[in-house]
């Protein structure tokens, strides 16, 4: 029925009323003369019906014969619309312009997306493709996909495979990144493992080399823990790369002092301006400062990227200011700095015991912490070997 309605709309049809006379005779005469009637209603002796344009032209004699008066209620369809607006040149020009814009833009690339990348940024990949001619506004059919793919692979060493799919006005670049093989320890330079911090050994596991300390021994920074010199059965020695891990109980101290008077940068003024981008045309709205922070916003409709984007440029002027914090603010800032240092230092170790202290005054706040930790203190140190010429 939708197709029928569409055909009727394209060909145009007339809705009319017919009153007086003999409705039955009118309908039968229409049927006999091949005049199509549909949506035929009879309300209080008045017939309301629809017919096509040709049918309406030949309905007058039928109406006259059946004694009915026919009057047009409304004309529907494209021919009537075009006839009504034929004198409006602007509409015609607008329709032609719209059609031309649609025809031209539908062959151009509007958006470029990259999928499958983690290590190599999308901007880098898009940048390489833009150098090779695949950029917004370029006709999709003119892109030589095979040569572009080969050239892009040469320019992107961390990409092992890539494929560009141009679907309508969207270009989708699929990539597979190079998987870096894990480092194999091929370096056989003789090394020792020494203590990186003072502490008491809790766990000692040598995998290669000679154990020099025992569990429970206190060690100082730089003490030898696992030696890279191995004694053979024939009492000769050979050098190797010492391997193993040594966990020791260590002491750490963190102190943070925060003054209530601080100097900070404060935003004084903020100025915004916009740039409208249409494919490769940029239209700045106002003066764009050089050092402005730019944020680009793409416009989507139903998940389809339009070739228009708006870039918001924000220029913020900062001024150095002396600020006096209140006591709670000072304490909070001190606590934040303390936590920040703790999270940095205790990333790879386990805290066994902790003792926290705080000293507050009107102008300052000092936070301190003493921690007993378990951590790997083993550190590689290259051996100094001198070859004696024989």
């Amino acid at each position: 029925m939708l197709v029928l309605k569409l055909i009727r709309f394209v060909l145009g049809y007339v809705c009319f009323t017919a009153c007086g006379g003999f409705p039955e005779r009118f309908i039968n005469l229409c049927k006999n003369r091949g005049i199509l009637l549909w949506e035929l209603k009879c309300r209080n002796g008045v017939i309301i019906a629809c017919t096509d344009r040709a049918g309406y032209r030949s309905i007058r004699p039928v109406a006259k014969k059946s004694g009915m008066r026919v009057r047009i209620k409304k004309k529907y369809g494209l021919p009537f619309f075009l006839n009504r607006h034929s004198r409006r040149a602007g509409v015609l020009v607008g329709i032609c312009f719209c059609a031309a814009v649609l025809c031209i833009l539908s062959t151009r690339i509007w958006s470029i997306d990259v999928v499958g990348n983690t290590a190599v940024s999308s901007e880098e990949i898009i940048g390489v493709f833009e150098e090779l001619g695949v950029k917004k506004g370029v006709a999709g059919k003119k892109v030589d996909i095979n040569s572009v793919e080969l050239s892009a692979l040469k320019k992107l060493p961390d990409i092992t495979w890539l494929n560009i799919n141009i679907n309508g006005s969207a270009a989708l670049i699929e990539v597979r990144e190079r998987v870096v093989s894990p480092d194999t320890d091929d370096d056989n330079t003789p090394t020792d493992i020494v203590a990186a911090r003072d502490g008491q050994i809790v766990i000692l596991r040598p995998f290669n080399g000679t154990q020099e300390q025992k569990i429970g021994n206190p060690v100082l920074k730089g003490d030898l823990l696992i030696s890279g010199i191995e004694e053979n059965r024939d009492l000769t020695v050979s050098f190797c790369k010492a391997k193993g891990y040594v966990v020791a109980r260590t002491n750490r101290q963190i102190n943070v002092a925060q003054n209530s008077k601080i100097t900070a940068m404060k935003a004084v003024s903020e100025k915004k301006s916009y740039i409208i981008e249409f494919l490769f045309f940029k239209i700045p709205l106002g003066r764009i400062p050089e050092n402005a922070y730019k944020e680009k916003r793409e416009i989507f409709i139903n998940g389809v990227t339009l070739p228009v984007s708006i870039t918001e440029c924000t220029q913020t002027v900062y001024e150095e200011k002396n600020i006096t914090l209140s006591q709670p603010e000072t304490e909070m800032l001190a606590a934040l700095r303390f936590l920040d240092r703790c999270s940095g230092e205790f990333k790879h170790l386990k805290v066994e015991e902790s003792k926290l202290s705080a000293a507050k005054s009107e102008t300052a706040c000092t936070l301190g912490g003493q921690f007993v930790c378990l951590e790997n203190i083993g550190e590689e140190r290259r051996m100094q070997i001198e070859e004696i010429p024989q």
């Binding site: 039955e24 309908i27 039968n28 049927k31 009637l37 549909w38 949506e39 035929l40 009879c42």
Partner: protein, 98 residues
């Protein structure tokens, strides 16, 4: 005249008996109208030869041998072409008369 009517009746009877014995649809051979009614909203009448009466509450159609009268309210002939009439509206009854 009487002889012709007699021969017509005999011919009809023969056709009817053949149709019945061969399980053929009645409307295909004997010239009856084929009527399909969907609920009380739509009636499709095939074999329609003309409109005898047309109103909001009654539509009478000539189907050759019979006159089909569709009663109801808000009745509309949605389309009428190639001997097929589609009537829509609230149908309350369908009558047949010779």
């Amino acid at each position: 005249m009487r002889n012709r009517r007699k021969s017509n009746n005999r011919g009809e009877r023969i056709i009817e008996s053949i149709t019945r014995n061969l399980d053929l649809p009645q409307d295909a051979v004997s010239g009856y109208a084929h009527i399909e009614i969907s609920g009380n909203r739509e009636a499709i009448i095939e074999g329609c030869q003309g409109v005898l009466e047309y109103g909001d509450n009654l539509i009478a159609l000539n189907t050759g041998r019979l006159t089909v009268r569709v009663c109801g309210c808000g009745l509309t002939i949605v389309s009428m072409q190639n001997g097929q009439a589609i009537i829509k509206g609230t149908i309350t009854g369908v009558d047949y008369c010779n």
